[in-house]
Subunit: 484 residues, 2 copies
Amino acid sequence: MNRHFINPTAVLRLVGLILMMLGAGMVFTVIVAFIFADGDQWGITLSMAITLVLGFSMWKFLPGEMDLTARDGFAAVTFGWLGMSIVGALPYLFTGAIPCVTDALFESASGFTTTGASILTDIESLPHGILFWRSFTHWIGGMGIIVFSIAILPFLGVGGMQMFKAEAPGPTADKLTPRIRGTAEILWGVYVLVSAAQAALLMFGGMDWFDSLCHTFGTVATGGFSTKNTSIAFYQSPYIHYVITVFMFIAGINFSLHFWAIRGRPGKYLESPEFKFYALMIGISVVILSALNLFRGQPFEPAFRDAAFQTCAIATTTGYATADFELWQPLAQVWLVSLMLIGGMAGSTGGGMKTARAMILLRQARVELHKMVHPETIYPIRIGRKSVSNEIVQNILAFFQLYVMIAIFATLFMAALGLDLVTSLTSVIACMSNIGPGLGEVGPTDNYAAIPMVGKWMLTFLMIVGRLEIYTVFVLLTKTYWSR
Amino acid sequence: MNRHFINPTAVLRLVGLILMMLGAGMVFTVIVAFIFADGDQWGITLSMAITLVLGFSMWKFLPGEMDLTARDGFAAVTFGWLGMSIVGALPYLFTGAIPCVTDALFESASGFTTTGASILTDIESLPHGILFWRSFTHWIGGMGIIVFSIAILPFLGVGGMQMFKAEAPGPTADKLTPRIRGTAEILWGVYVLVSAAQAALLMFGGMDWFDSLCHTFGTVATGGFSTKNTSIAFYQSPYIHYVITVFMFIAGINFSLHFWAIRGRPGKYLESPEFKFYALMIGISVVILSALNLFRGQPFEPAFRDAAFQTCAIATTTGYATADFELWQPLAQVWLVSLMLIGGMAGSTGGGMKTARAMILLRQARVELHKMVHPETIYPIRIGRKSVSNEIVQNILAFFQLYVMIAIFATLFMAALGLDLVTSLTSVIACMSNIGPGLGEVGPTDNYAAIPMVGKWMLTFLMIVGRLEIYTVFVLLTKTYWSR
């Protein structure tokens, strides 16, 4: 069927289905809560019940066929993430861990968008069930984003990611649902495998099973929630720092490539020009930050370790911290803010604008200069052996422009609330790029508790906008989208 | 002749011609210096002699025909501005007003690019000849930029300004030289007329002829050099503030429109969609900043006056100050930084990205959202009754991207010198957008004296890059440009 208008009940039924799956996943949190029995178990159980009932009702009692077109996809994804963020706030509210609705929603959205920005001031005082839930929202969000970026985005024809269409594993059906299901199952297998490997390695390093799981969730989803007030700096063991560094690096890679590696074709990594760009960017950053750390008088091993950790934490938009980079040189700070903008690979759990877009933007800039000299010549942009269509280039330029414009408007908004320039700017970038820590009042050793309430709403909105690659959300704000 | 390579001697001969004209113009400065006889007269006379001899030698003794193609235009403009900046530094050096070469070049480039950033800490202690020269470089630079943006840029096919080709007055010859000459003569007439009007109005308000001329130069060129340490805040008279506000507003308008107004067709202003956008932007800004000033407890008239003055000073990239906006609310500060990025109208003496580009970027963002929903539909971008070609849109998107990328790299560079984030970022924006004051260590009551030497070189480069709309300079850095 070739509908040319949105099917709202089908979208809501799909959101109901997503909530049912989320509710089912909550059972792990309930189990953990009952194991520790810190007093949060009933609040979490109630949240699970409500989520299941709500999801089931939406799916069962709303009329209409589950027949979705690409156009419905935008609404389904946006409302899916919004729905998860809303019910995900229930455990915080019902257990009293976060009594304020704005704060609970901020924390929940920060989890599902794998941002890792927190309004909590004393994390370690929280009951185990809530801590687990907090990290678990990252893991679910990471799962969601892999499917979103590899299976759904190319189908919607959004964000210039069409070029990666061919790279997605799984059946290449033309209908939305079977294709997504097939790809999702394969990628989730990879995701679970990577997670299991990290959790095992962390436990091997002496971390208990609870913290290992929570930090694994935060790492593979490039989220950044920790169970410790001082984040990863809590752990003295260089081994643990290195394990998390490596898995942050892995989480910033397109999961399709991991799929091929597991299937015995690790050569696919080096065949990917985007991977080479990503690895080079990380490599250069580690060298620069190591040098700066040495210059500040750190001994060699910690200088390298902090540089590698902080590079991966920021470039993959995880946001974990082993060091307070607000005390680093201004160059290191501006460098890290620049990495925030670029972010991880397309098809990873990382946020930001994505290395794929950064590559094309860099090449496009060169092409424009050549075109000045030879206006009549056509310069195709190539990424590896593929040439990138003009349409995709224009789309990426527009994405970049939209990103910067939204950042400017949002910074104005935050500044209007009385926040200083650095806090306004970096809180916006850190949330829209799904990183977590910024600079100023939201630096790596601070949190978002002191941001005024409307500022938290704005940042929550930005987290979802950034996570869904802007277009997916903004398209819903156009009149065209809703008209027939 | 259809050469496909650059003609270096013709370019240098043209630069020689520009220097001769500049040398001839220096006679006014020599006269002023002799009137006041502060001891700087011989240094300035020597500078004039060197400029004339150098220009004449280049023009006379270099071989080759003065036969220039569009391609040569890029080099001619870039080296022309560079050449003016270099000989323009001589008066500072020979009189000992600025003994350091880096500083003298910074001040000179800041003058000719109409930036208005200064390394001087005590302006009022300078001899009159030097003060006059400093402001005069603005005026010459403003003249140059009007011709550059209205006559040369469209001819080079650069920067998406082709759409304004039709708006330029004068003969529409296809050869570079006659067209430029014809347009230049007309526009300079308008420029002189506007300048004379402002100088007369300032003198009418009680300012002496010397300060009136210097401040007129700084205003109509949207430069910002003052003869007073405290800039326009030195003057208590609201009348003077309002005169300068109005003329900054005028200087930010496309001078072709003034030409038509003088020719009896003032309706052309309102026919221009870019003018409406520009006026609306200024109007909104005055309302917002007035409200913020009232909120801070200022009485109504000064609140409005400061808001109008500061809006025009920043939006037109003049950079004069009647108030220290670093003491204003964060919203006002971020708002002013955003205005810095947009700048004045194309074809004005204002810097920044230009309102024409901002308009098209805003419309393009909306088009991209519509395209998500209806990928098959073509949405033409219209500015007024004209539709903008896809090529121009892509060029403007690329310009925006290049602008932001250069700003990020330059900010990294400045931060590497140890400057804090706010100073690094706003010094880069203030110089590349040709404004002058930024925030932090380069705020409206500070100056650029404390910036490390290599930082001054970088900012000098950025002033020229920004003034010549990026492409003109960057195209010279490509291999394609120099190859046959």
